[in-house]
Symmetry: C2
Subunit: 593 residues, 2 copies
């Protein structure tokens, strides 16, 4: 059985000392008491996650979702009750504006809370947030649509789903074939099939609101011919209550490698009544409101699962006694030492721990950009934060899930053969987190977005500014003497590699850039994580200068030193692999594969 | 559903052109017609694997093993019949000497055949070889034991099992607590419990012969107090037939991440009758005959699963059409191109393919050392080959399973979201192959064996000789102009890194060596794989010089260039990570984890 305790102290360290959210009182919603509110919200959500959601995680994996003969889907035992309590707590809509019926929290705090849900029960977390759906309606919905659907999505009374992928249209949405035919009453008849619809059907709520991409008659080919339709599972009556079953149903629930408690559905749209959301043929842009939201969510999965994997591996390493330690002075009196005293076990744990903590900081930093972009009263600052968010979205989505997967594999290794046994629960971390690499575009899709779109924004000035911001932080840490010189030099080297790589890939021809794109993405992600360690180390130094001493600060220093000392080694590899000859990649005839 | 075709042509390329086994007619059993025998054996086994074993692989994962109320274990549907046919074909005992009832094949050929079994059905393969058990008996058994057990193990009529791990004794066998008490009749009463006994109980054969480590009364503490006992599930009657149920039974069958058709059992020994094998207190040495065999087997898993993962990913990449290729001239006429024309998909496929083919060559090279060590009439050559085998055993076991796991993850990625669905079958590759990282010692245990024992053999002369052998091959390829200069320089650089790393780790203090050991191991493994590519490229050049042209040769060149161009980048990283500061690893107090 696995354990979990919400890392509230570390989250607060990031919010208070790294991001200093209390210094942004200028932003609406960042009130005087934000840190106090944060501490109590995190504690409350953390307790719920540890007490209610985490105990349901193993059974979610074991039992999965079942589909009844009538097509309805039964979620794992305990989910219905847990969801009711979760929604009552208002925890699904934390970042939805208060005037829309949500919690009105800054996104940075909501994401911090969501991380705990992902740690405790990733399958459950898949049903838990409607933020993206509400944002679509706020931005593109008619007043009537907003009135009819936002309050129930914000409260979690209903859930939202996304109908995007089709059997022949995955990474290439231009191939979408679902059609929507106008009816005389202004609605549309939606016909077609979608696959991989998460939460497409379940027993947690009375209604499920599908946002579906489909093609109007005579629409242009390609993605510019896609429109977005709102297709509720239950059509509403005059009072806005679910009344009549719409023509949308799950034709099957997939069996998956992991996330088995999350119902991944194949959906059938059979003359389903749909409502056009936004302009005709502009559905993809509207869908990207949700897609970008879910890309950040996928990064949150990475943080949450790495954290819980770390906690379990560290606990096992302390309790399992095998062999003697070669570390001077660590040999105890018993027949064997805890395996924590084996250098390789420590190396693995430090790799996992230093990833999880930096990833948390990076995710929250990214969320803070979203808050600034939405709330600042300075249009220049809003613009700049929005650009940073656009740049970092593929970086965090493309790297945090992959690095987290690697972390879970390391955590499992610490358990030896026991880690391979289902009972221990660690193989579920590996299987669950892997989903995050696929949802909302695999790594290469994120690399493509970063390389072909994002680093070109404003003629490259956004990425230049991001590098300059990191450089500023390095200089500040140097001038204040807060960070040791080896770590500073390592960070400078890593940053230099990113600069060099950016120049190279901006100038490369498209095929070579695509062949090297994933290594460019990884390089970017590692530098971003190193940047967070620089900021965390500087924050720890400030606290120490103020007289504070604790094992937590000692840990911060060791993890920062560990991560940064290895950073330029990793970035040099990505730089070199990105630039490696691509002739052997591109020239081999298809028949030779 | 997955596909599989045995790569007979590539296996033959390795045997004929890389290892040139037909030039070793001096070795007993390496007869004039060895290549012909090889071709027909590989074709026959390959056909059986593709036609009979591979179709049972998905159901093995789905149904797993079930335990009946009486403790007996039912293997997945189809396994009993497939095993009967497999044993009738004599394919479990291919490398067991003919005078012991086996196939008498060179190990190099037997391993080549076994790879196909691992590709087609890893769960089944877990039951399929008794070579190590027979070797123990040949070396340490009494004449009576040899007579009673070897023929049935060699024919596959019975299977062997290994009773090693206990709940509190995994990587540290000094903690084994199972006891064996002498009885007046010369047998022993074995009492205790073992876990992780593969094939500890099943319905494939009438008898299962357990080789068990236990402690005699008054035995010294530690591993020097362990003795080996043969404990048959069924005690034999006067005619040598299974007659009376012995006091050994499976108390449970584990649920595992993968390899679900292989019965991993918790065994209970309750006054079980055991027969001492070899000298008292020398059981661990005897067990290492089997252990070293199984370490090579774990490497075979790596090759087999990477191969089948490659085949499936390549087929999907050719058939799946999404988006347009950025490679000049690859844009077809349809709405989308095959994803094989995406550079990142090619990068992933080349990574998997260049690993699988080099790993096959390395495994067969290693097996050939075993043949030479056993069969050469030159005692110096026997000695040298035995040393090489000892040196490379932790290298292949420590790296091939890990690199293969990575390969399966890449293969899954090519399938996009479909790869996450159980139905597609690729997630099973990931879950199955992961077992190989745990069995017979995790990666760090192999690194420890390599660093603390193997590179010190004969004052380091064995590893020096291995490096010199590789250097010789580089020079030969250079002087004959068979390999392009970039690849030669890359190989030289990688080899230089290995030399530098060997010096560093030989001189490092034990704790720092342990902290860097896994990276040393990986560095060694990558250079060994690069060495195989050098030899494969040279072989391809010789064929081309003789007028041969084929897509297979073109493929060899591209894969060699791909692997070797990336080799020094990977080895530089391992070298640097091995030497990275270990202060942060070693100094952090346990409470801070």
């Amino acid at each position: 059985m696995t354990i979990y305790t919400a890392p509230v102290a570390d989250t607060m360290f990031v919010l208070r000392h790294v991001l200093r959210i209390h210094e942004r009182k200028d932003l609406p919603g960042f009130d005087e008491d934000l840190l106090d509110v944060s501490a109590s919200a995190l504690a409350m959500v953390g307790e719920f996650c540890a007490d209610v959601l985490q105990p349901l995680n193993a059974v979610a994996d074991l039992d999965g979702c079942a589909q009844a003969a009538d097509g309805t889907v039964v979620t794992p035992p305990g989910f219905v009750d847990a969801y009711r309590r979760f929604a009552q707590g208002g925890w699904g809509g934390l970042a939805i504006p208060a005037d829309q019926g949500g919690g009105g929290m800054p996104l940075v705090l909501a994401q911090a809370c969501h991380e705990y849900v992902w740690s405790a029960n990733p399958s459950f977390a898949m049903y838990a947030s409607n933020l993206g759906h509400v944002r679509i309606l706020m931005k593109h919905g008619t007043e009537e649509q907003q009135r009819a659907y936002i309050p129930q999505l914000a409260s979690g009374e209903w859930t939202g789903a996304m109908g995007l992928t089709e059997p022949a249209a995955g990474s290439d949405l231009s191939l979408v074939r679902t059609v929507a035919t106008p009816r005389e009453d202004g609605t549309y008849a939606v016909n077609g099939g979608k696959i991989f619809t998460s939460g497409g059907e379940h027993d947690l709520t009375d209604n499920i609101i599908h946002f579906v991409l489909a093609r109007l008659p005579g629409a242009p080919e390609g993605t510019r011919g896609l429109s977005m339709f709102l297709v509720p599972k239950m059509l509403l009556d005059d009072q806005g209550r679910p009344a009549v079953r719409n023509g949308v149903a799950a034709s099957r629930v997939e069996h998956k490698m992991g996330l088995r408690g999350s119902a991944t559905c194949q959906m059938n749209y059979d003359d389903a009544t749909g409502f056009l959301v936004g302009e005709p043929h502009r559905g993809l842009a509207a869908m990207f409101v949700l897609m970008n939201e879910l890309r950040i969510t996928a990064s949150t999965v990475g943080v949450g699962v790495a954290e819980v994997a770390y906690q379990n591996a560290a606990a096992y390493a302390k309790e399992r006694h095998q062999g003697r330690s070669p570390i001077a002075g660590r040999n105890g009196d018993g027949a064997a030492d805890p395996i924590l005293e084996q250098p390789d076990v420590r190396r693995l744990l430090l790799t996992v721990g230093s990833f999880a903590e930096a990833a948390r900081a990076l995710l929250l930093w990214t969320s803070l950009q979203s808050d600034i972009a939405a709330r600042s009263d300075d249009p220049d600052e809003r613009h700049a934060a929005g650009r940073r968010l656009a740049l970092f979205t593929p970086v965090v989505k493309g790297t945090l899930p992959d690095f987290s997967f690697e972390s879970t594999v390391y955590a499992q290794l610490i358990f030896g053969g026991h880690g391979y046994m289902t009972e221990t629960g660690v193989d579920q971390f590996i299987r669950d987190v892997r989903m995050a690499a696929f949802g909302e575009g695999v790594t290469a899709i994120q690399a493509d977005d970063l390389v072909r779109r994002k680093i070109g924004i404003d003629s490259g000035r956004v990425v230049e500014q991001a590098l300059a911001d990191i450089e500023d932080d390095v200089q500040a840490a140097e001038s204040t003497g807060q960070v040791d010189s080896a770590s500073l030099m390592a960070m400078r080297t890593g940053l230099g590699h990113l600069r060099e790589a950016t120049e190279w890939i901006s100038a490369a021809d498209p095929a070579a850039a695509a062949a090297g794109g994933v290594h460019y993405l990884y390089l970017f992600g590692r530098v971003a994580l190193g940047w967070m360690w620089l900021r965390e180390a500087a924050a720890a130094a400030r606290l120490r200068a103020a007289g504070e001493q604790s094992p937590a600060l000692e840990r911060k220093d060791a993890l920062a030193r560990f991560y940064l000392s290895r950073l330029p080694i990793e970035t040099a590899r990505h730089l070199d692999l990105m630039r490696a000859e691509s002739e052997s990649v591109l020239s081999l005839p298809a028949a030779a594969f």
